[in-house]
Symmetry: C2
Subunit: 442 residues, 2 copies
């Protein structure tokens, strides 16, 4: 009988090994042919690997015997010797002795992915997503995105949170309304979850602190640069809070942790995208109504609706805090009750407002959170007051009936956070395969 | 302006602090009242926290002034002094001085969650999921599940994989067929993804190695102990492989890593569930046709269909390898082409079989994986041979047209892996909120 005993060492090496090898070492490297520059006597063959680029050099003689017709889009295994060469990227190159093809592309790529910037429209990039992302800067955005999710989880594991997986298909969703995608589930009507809200609250009674990173679905008929109909939500919910500010603290802690992680482990990508990580050592917080007053005064803008915040107002609040306090982030607190779902806890001092908040990043809402109602009677009363039925909420409500700690939580839109951090102005740039009103493919 | 500066220290302490405190120390602890045992002069009040249980003691006198009517389901903050007491769990208890209620439940819980084992049917547990999981052993299963997902990600990060998030709603899915949930997406027909297969393959050309941990949806009309209609799939896909055995090696590496992580960080839960982690230092692999022969001989079972593996045969293969080699795991390789999707690579030595595998764990398939076709022409030919159209696969196919490395990957059913590890015999026991043909709530 034969056995697998775990990972074996491979013949080909990674970029790190190439960079640390002594001059003259013979090495074997695999990669995609990112670009070929034929200089006559020699050709520069730049290989793309997950860790970055590597310059290989093919001499004319060798090219004829070994590397005949090597071209962009080919996948190769090259063997060669390391040569120190100040003009090459990383200060070294691989002098090719042998080329083996792993596969060949069918002619030139339809996008100039080897350019520094892909000067292509968003639509064109999305139409050839799997090719466009081969550009180093395009793919770097998603490495940054990985760092953010990873930071979220690692930080929360360290804070005693348990990771959960909740269903995306259900009979009912947290906020109901028109923004639900509907489907048929074995002859029964079902919906796609807008948020894991009700599930994560139920799990607070079990694990005290829970989080989930998963897709959510919103059938909103918004075709804007800020909306996706399916996105990745970073959700957490925590029990035993003293105030909704505990949630803001936890989020601030996450941002501090995640940016440190990016600084430590994603410096290549930060460099490629020329990202300067924002200061999150302290984040101001301001009441919703006060924020409206502040920008109304400073930017001479009339308050049209005291219970609503328009996208332009969000932008102005962002601008205000940048100008006055030099910060990209601001927590806006105490959103009006009318604008929050039934489970939000009203402010006992003024029930028109809730113990909730949004986090704005460069004037864009990237998080909604707050304290939830944990008392069973208050919850059933609130449902009734809103004219909602308990249909389909039986298990949710029973959870509270048998006791729940004070708790709260939040949801962070991963693509929006990424978009603001990498400096894109359309959220689709921060989503591998965006879903919007017109895009359902690939 | 006020600022949030990150996490502040709280008044109440965690279990660790309680366990390390000197005798006589005054502490404040928050928790759920897990059980109350009234002994006349004193009452034992067991508090449940995320880290475990903690015994507090309420003297009769105090009970009358402070802890009046304390009962199961209440959430409290108790202040008291630490007392060493050999008979108490952890060898210490908290002598209560003061009780503050965070919230109160409405009377006794309908399930005896404080018992060592919840002697309740699966159906009854699922009907009160958020309460049933307050039982320590019930919730421990999902902590083990967390360790598995966490191990998967951490191991793959270390192996140079990039985490991706792919859409769950699409115009087309990887394997098509009758097992798709259908929905309407802004007046267009859409489906829920059965697997991130096509997306992760497309991303191999970008990141070389990718993984995703997310929900998948299968409208299978199977009502068995092994099937869920929505489950969490641990998927990875890697380029530059030499053989599909590279995938098996990576999976073996993951299992080794994850079990080590469980051993290090989840020992409480392993203890609660009395789990002995299986040996994964080496995992045997055997061809599909050979495996059938082996069990046919040993267990005197006639081979009815040489191109199919029945669930009973899977179980027997598991039994065979346990008996002959003492292992819980076995890779079964070279599945028949007919049983594998179009993207599976056929074995060039015998095209009736594929370069693919399943991993069986105690006789249950927990993984399907293999090498994929990376050559554009072979892929289009295979599609044609199967009578499939390229409709909706344009971007997928174009990815190959412009070059792709040899690659392969796998998908692991998280709930099945958890179920086998914790020793349950129904996959619903390893899913927080299972979705099956009859269960769509909560």
């Amino acid at each position: 009988m034969e056995f697998i005993e775990g990972m074996r060492e491979k013949k080909s090496v990674d970029l790190q090994r190439f960079l640390l090898a002594e001059e003259g070492t013979s090495l074997c490297v695999e990669g995609a042919v990112h670009s070929v520059r034929d200089m006559g006597e020699i050709a520069f063959v730049v290989l793309r690997r997950r860790e970055g680029l590597l310059q290989a050099v093919l001499e004319k003689e060798k090219a004829e015997s070994e590397g005949s017709g090597i071209r962009e889009g080919d996948f190769v295994r090259v063997t060669g010797t390391v040569k120190i060469e100040a003009r090459a990227p990383h200060g070294r190159e691989l002098r090719i002795c042998q080329v083996a093809w792993l596969s060949r592309g069918e002619g030139p790529l339809p996008l100039a992915i080897d350019k520094w910037k892909l000067k292509t429209s968003l639509e064109a990039k999305l139409d050839r997503r799997s090719l466009a992302l081969r550009n180093l800067r395009e793919r770097a955005k998603f490495r940054i995105q990985e760092g953010l999710v990873r930071g979220f989880r690692d930080f929360l594991y360290g804070q005693g949170f348990t990771e959960i997986h909740t269903p995306k298909v259900g009979a009912k969703s947290a906020e109901g309304g028109a923004n639900l995608f509907k489907l048929t589930y074995f002859h029964r009507p079902a919906v796609l979850q807008q948020s894991p809200q009700l599930y994560k609250q139920m799990m607070v009674g079990v694990f005290d602190r829970v989080f989930e990173t998963g897709p959510v679905f919103r059938a909103e008929k918004h075709n804007t640069r800020r909306h996706l109909n399916e996105y990745t939500s970073l959700d957490f919910e925590m029990g035993y809070i003293e105030s909704f500010l505990d949630i803001c603290e936890m989020e601030t802690g996450f941002l501090q942790y995640a940016f440190d992680l990016l600084r430590r482990e994603y410096d290549t990508e930060l460099g490629l995208l020329q990202i300067e990580l924002p200061d999150v050592s302290r984040i101001p917080y301001v009441r919703f109504d006060e924020a409206k007053q502040l920008i109304s005064k400073k930017y001479e803008r009339r308050i049209r609706n005291p219970f609503d915040l328009e996208p332009e107002e969000e932008e102005l609040i962002g601008r205000y805090f940048k100008e006055e306090y030099g910060t990209d982030f601001v927590f806006v607190t105490h959103y009006p009750s009318k604008k929050r779902p039934f489970y939000a806890m009203d402010d006992p001092e003024d029930e028109r407002f809730t113990l909730s908040f949004d986090l704005l990043y460069k004037g864009l809402e990237i998080t909604t959170g707050g304290q939830r109602i944990h008392d069973w009677k208050s919850l059933t009363e609130k449902l009734e007051k809103r004219g909602m039925t308990a249909d389909g909420l039986e298990q949710y409500l029973d959870t509270f009936r048998y006791g729940m700690p004070p708790h709260g939580g939040l949801g962070i839109g991963l693509e929006r956070l990424t978009m603001q951090l990498v400096g894109e102005d359309n959220v689709r740039e921060a989503c591998l395969f965006p879903r919007d009103m017109s895009r359902l493919e690939p």
